[in-house]
Symmetry: D2
Subunit: 361 residues, 4 copies
């Protein structure tokens, strides 16, 4: 099922950008877990648009209604279904897109794939809107992971030329993660946030958009999470992270940087802590060896492309007329989706890690 | 099943570095497909070590025996099982590794995960040796894809500081791919190969190792291959590519480069060719929009870390004594696995793309 | 995912007997298929209780709301989500059941399995109520199958000692199926229906319940549907049919009767029709050879146990007190669920057959 | 993957009746489990033909070679691959079958399904021969289950008109199971065995064949094994049992008998034993309530059709000539496969139950 993920903990996402409801079914959660729905809603609110100058003025109003799977506030063995009513859609904004696919979007590929039956309004099932149920599912998984000592957080490492510093891959703590993700614009250095916001504002004013990189971390993973080969940490995490629209690259630990290192530089030596725990002095491996957690922080960087919907004129084609044409995308679009993508990355990590945790247990 | 991959075309890989046999079961192939086993063997031989100065002197002698699934040389609906006898293993080389995990390897994580029952000889099930059956499965899938007009090829884009030029993401042809992969050391520019070989030779002489980047391409994909969300092209391809040992980063099209582009730079405009085909003038999207093939070449770059097994002394721990110690890895190891990984990348792509092709069909 | 079924066409059922909503996500349907929601509702209404004297007086009012997956009334590639609000639940009826498990129900096993967190109201996720979304999903699949010439129908073969005649396994037509399933109490012979209704009425009056057998048929299946071994017709169909509560036995074609036949009696000879089609003269194999459709009608019989909820006193235990006790089940219960199970059987068959059809295609 | 089964413990079966090798890959077994290969071979030998007058004189010589997945005799986390070389095949016996499908076999359906590319020799992938790797996998799973207190055994309940008595569904013990399965012809009453053997001998002499019923039991299952809906005990067990060739019906507990019972007769009352354990006084539910184990013996009956290969003349068609014809099946065939199917049923149960056990754990 292409819109479902997971083996033991499974999610199944449904909905289109403009369907009546979007939502998610979450099956296979451990039972007896109390789920704080208000906290999950707050997690989801982090991806909401319309909060400020650097995102779209649409008000998505993503109020989640959990309609099954909880009993007395706790998981009871039955699948959770969470729904979000789509209340603020403007289908007319998209009428021309069936004919004129937007560059950089799935309009063209979905139209061909589905022989013209694709729900083209707002990108249909390919819309970034579908990351709302992903975030809710992630929030649920995260609460369960945290109860097991596993914490996840992310920050904006870069937007266009604006850069933040990196997490300390060896020493990052859950407290430091909590501090960063509590920020309205999550960067480690506040000066980086200011620079990035200015870059976004400039892009908006120019009718353009910008991309960026999100760095995310999980701490507290015990040694041994991840299955061999195709279910290793990198395989599972990349397969869910690439499902977030606009992601074009993913790297773990030193990532593409390993290509220019010697083995003697890249290998992380093991040592024994006073507690008896075995750690590595450096963390270029990013917390995964052979696809299995090493006990060091799990470090991932995810590259997001600039929002393809821009108001500048772009060359495209008319599918009906079979001729070249020019498109001016109207509607309300983010000049940069990176800030809103931060909780999406955390959520995707939480879902994949809880699934692997439950498989391993 | 962590060692199996695919939904319609499924592979299941078995074996450890030093088990009697390693192999693969391939199920769900279209029927009536003639498989040229000699050609598949030649494909597999591309990953064989011991060919020259820049790889390990071990002779793996990977002779594949297909024991089921073909009838009169054609697929018949039953699963193919292909086996490789392990004939040239030296288990004594690895005896100390149960106690002293090699930095950068899965020795430590697998030992903990499997409570001490892991087959530690040569990395067990986590060994790069298991890419031999992956390559064979890929060779089979590739033959079927080629019959449908889809061709795959890869070259070494970089090793340490040695760089090759990139494929032409818009205009690359199957003939150009064939020319590159026919080379004993596959780079586009021969001067790049010479430089890379020298880098590898230097690393070997220094008891060290180097990493690099492989760029791979699929041409001839029709529009529409790839399923939504978690089964999109990027999700499926990354989940199988990250299963190749030593991969630390994957990017599609412009990849991490998108983070510093404006939308107006990154979007690839559509136009109509004289044939009526819709193409993009540039190919920064790398052949995938919304996880679905656009008809443009599919372009992937995969980063490989330096071989972790190096003869230089490295700090590690003795698990039995519970103390810090120093390890000198002996045995026969590649100073750079990138050249041998080229067919592995092609094979992984072929398996994932045939699965998606059959799902779509 | 235990509450999902299928490989290419997948359904995921959510909800508990007394959750706010019950429903189903259907993914992987062929695109461009018009779905007649009114017809699907009418199909679902066939399982509704409260229609007459022989079923429970509860009014379930299963009004389906399709909230995603259709665009202009047709499947568009995105998953369909269909919801039914639970409006007529009386949770207080069930309060004692957490302590005193009903004989013949999942109360006891679910309570232990889920460590006391099971939603015990009305059987929770194990309730027969969850066959409502199954029926809706089946109705959708059936419309698609019928467009391909495949028709499904069932009748009540027996209730307790009341027997109907069997379908003609060789010559049954879609018209005859349509005629039977249009009946308010679907038997071939009306006299059988009268006898069965009297049996049910007697059971009700005695505070008891009765079981029965449903015979179901699919006609129009082309030769070749069904995958080898674990995905054969019998494997797939039985795995979904046994998910209907109260099913205790399933047989295909001659079923258990084969045990007392000679091979020369049981084998169905092949012959060529004037049209060139190859058929069998008899149909003891029930339309499946080697798990693959033979082109003959697919014939299944499914045995249902008597409703376990009866008002007669029954011995059980108090889990809290740890002592034997006596239970009198109150609430509104069917004295026989067989009549309402008829569309459930048809729905389950439709889901499994469409999945296999799409896998084969 | 149609020839694979399981979610956590997965098996993948490969081979055709006349391929060089048949075998199985078993993935996901718990680690550190010692596997007694000699005991597994003895289990497999129970299904071997050629032992006596009532089975085929073929000598299959199923010697299993385990080529991966064990280290120091224990499971090590890597998949087990077990192979059986096919040494005693007579392909010429089957040459005519490509043209003239045998009544009751998959010859016809497979030929059409695979467009003429099916390996028709001996039934190809649909051959009963493939139950040899199933038995080996089952023997491995059984050893692991027994270490957890779960024991499985089966006997021949009937062959044609010859009947054995049933197991005591309430009180059956592992010792009694062991005693029955140790018999060369496993019936509870020796007189039943004699009668059945005579029936088989008569069928053989008449060039005919007979079917029968196997009754199987698992004891020692804790309460709570089995997942809801489509992964309930009945669903999982039936989906693997129906993969054994010739199975036409499966029932649990009272099975089809429930159809003629009142609820007050069929419900099994709960009571508390002196040990505090909760049991049922009777066991008509057959050990499963809501698809979840109740702690009572799990009781299954499986109906096998008469071997379709008989030497009597049978009407069939010539696919090439497109005309009716008469077939006389030569070759060596069992007049009754029921005795050899006994370990197959036990093996199938062991595989499904270990998978569910590991999912639950």
């Amino acid at each position: 099922m292409s819109s479902s993920f997971g083996e033991k903990v499974k999610i199944s996402i449904f909905g289109q950008s403009h369907s009546e409801v979007i939502g998610v079914v979450i099956d296979g959660l451990p039972v007896g877990e109390e789920i704080d729905l208000a906290a999950a809603q707050r997690f989801l609110d982090r991806r909401a648009p319309g909060k400020n100058a650097y995102s779209t003025p649409r008000k998505e109003g993503d109020q989640v209604r959990v309609v099954s799977g909880l009993f007395d506030g706790k998981t009871c063995g039955a699948p959770i279904c969470a729904m979000i009513e789509n209340t603020n859609t403007r289908s007319k904004d998209y009428a021309q897109l069936k004919d004129m696919p937007r560059p950089g979007h799935a309009d063209f590929t979905a139209e061909i794939k589905y022989h013209g039956f694709q729900d083209y309004r707002g990108g249909g099932h390919f819309s970034g809107r579908l990351t709302a149920p992903l975030c809710f599912a992630g929030a649920v998984c995260l609460q369960i992971l945290e109860r097991r000592g596993i914490h996840i957080g992310a920050h904006i490492l870069s937007i266009h030329e604006g850069k933040d510093k990196s997490f300390d891959a060896v020493g990052i703590t859950k407290e430091e993660l909590a501090k960063v993700i509590a920020k309205e614009f999550p960067t480690i250095e506040d000066s980086a946030a200011e620079k990035m916001k200015a870059i976004i504002q400039n892009a908006r004013e120019g009718g353009d958009s910008v991309g960026g990189v999100i760095e995310s971390v999980a701490v507290g993973l015990p040694v041994g999470i991840g299955e061999p080969m195709f279910d290793g940490l990198e395989s599972k995490l990349s397969s869910i992270l690439f499902a977030i629209p606009a992601v074009k690259g993913i790297e773990f630990g030193e990532g593409f940087g390993v290509a220019t290192l010697f083995g003697s530089q890249n290998n992380d030596s093991f040592y024994i802590e006073e507690t008896g725990a075995i750690k590595t002095k450096t963390n270029r491996h990013g917390g995964s060896l052979g696809g299995i957690s090493s006990g060091m922080p799990l470090v991932i960087r995810t590259a997001f492309k600039p929002t393809p919907s821009i108001s500048k004129n772009q060359a495209t084609v008319s599918l009906q007329k079979g001729e070249n044409t020019v498109l001016s995308v109207t509607g309300r679009h983010d000049p940069c989706i990176v800030p809103r993508a931060v909780p999406c990355v955390e959520a995707a990590m939480a879902i994949a890690l809880l699934d692997l945790y439950e498989l391993f247990k």
